[in-house]
Amino acid sequence: MSLPEPLAEDIRAAMDSFGGARPAMLESLRLIQHAEGWVSDARLAEVAELLGVTPAELDNLATFYSMIFRRPVGETVILLCDGASCWLNGADAVRDAVMARLGIGFGETTGDGKYTLINCACLGGCDHAPAAAVGRDRRLVGPLAPEDLAPLLEAAP
């Protein structure tokens, strides 16, 4: 497999826009992840080649920035806020309910590949606490309740 042309084009555009290959590295990883959900070793190597940097340099960034995923994720990624304002409004009960319902813990993906659950810093949605960001658009949902997880689980991927 080689890098699909639209992606390669976006990465070249990022190089033009952000001042060269190096400043475009993080954006390139984001673009890959947008298209494919995560960044595989193969893609990492292809992007490195396109940018003219080493895969190690690129991975050095990928492992620092927490929202770049270097492992496959489910169709829908759920970022569940573990910040204080959400905790003050019952986030622990929501967390327990989601974990029980999906049968997974933080950092895990359901066996059917549908959901990945990740704990996340304050999402800037404390006015919707307890809150989460769901799916590829990181749609903010909340206030969540343990007895109604539909807003979390039924959001589009």
């Binding site: 475009a24 929202m67 770049i68 304002s85």
Partner: protein, 429 residues
Amino acid sequence: MSETPMTGRARPDRTPHSLAEWRAEAGYEAVERALKLTPAQVLDRVDQANLNGRGGAGFPAAQKWKFMADPAEAPGTGPNYLIVNGDEMEPGAFKDRFLLEALPHQVIEGAIITAYATHATVAYVLIRDEYRPGIAAMKRAIAEAEAAGLLGRDILGSGFSLTMKVKPSAGRYIVGEETALIESLEGKRAVPRKRPPFPAQSGLFGRPTTVNNVETISLVPHILANGPQWFRALSRTEEGGTKLYAVSGRVNKPGLIEAPMGTTARELIERSGGLSGNGKLRCFQPGGGASGFLEEAELDLPLDFGHCKTAGSMFGTGTMIVLDQTACPIGVLARHQRFYARESCGWCTPCRDGLPWVARILDALEEGTAEPGDLEILRMTAAEAGPRGRSFCDLMGGAMAPLATGLARFGDLFEAHLDGGCPIRRGVL
């Protein structure tokens, strides 16, 4: 003229204005005015307005701008840069999300004026990855402004040019620290830089750079539109302007409130539907997770940078976290410290090793497995590693502020946790 100049034009559902709609509401008039003045005159007006940065430290905006040399006089070649900081990850902060989503043209106006005053010709807006609607709104607004000649070459025939770009981030709270942000934009891991040199001397790609918060930038157009005297008169204190306060935690209607600088916690809590829980206040943090706890006695403190500091706390992001008496400040601290520990960039030892230690002890206190000596470790860490200058950047000091004030104000509650875990949760207190 409105009492809520910054948010008055926003729509309840946060749909941003098109350029035409924004212009119909006096949009870009401030830019027209500014570009008829000299950069020095613009800077002078902002100076007279007493605008303090809204990103956390409260540094006067104009004073920072004064350090920006004319690009021709700075060593090396390249432009001056402006960076608008929209990384917003401080626990309890959700104000910049709103300004980016609902009022993107206001951010552009502020960026044009700030760039003009600081001789910058390239501006980046760095936005945290989770703020997708804000990223989209800013991109769209920038494209519209470019098409209309409000960005790009020779803006409104003034001879001044500005290129503006959105750079989405990809997680990590430390990216919001201004020198780490610059490293990140250069394509590196976001580890803070040594200062001096300050960004105004040597910032992005070694060039003079100004970093300002989204809210700071959003206020700038109003100073130019209505004048510094008017801007100062918006405030109840010495610090100019209105503030986009946020209230969350144990209140009935958490949300954003634009109000005069110096508004009190009592008023803000009241306007947020009052306390939830048992309706009695235990404490509050006035400015996000890194601000020290305040209590009942400080309910009538005018909330601004100066007053919060005098009261032994910090105004920070001006986004309050409120606890009623059925909420445990040690539980809040435990969440905060886990967050700061996780977000440490790992560069210096007090932060990298100290924070996880503190977080583990707080968890143990909550669970009832902590030992008496643990409190001594917390006190020691807060006292030794907390003060400014003991770590490479302010993440560690910020994290220690609520711990130190928590230990000082709620010592008995800490002790009570030694006896079987959180006494509030167990219902014995």
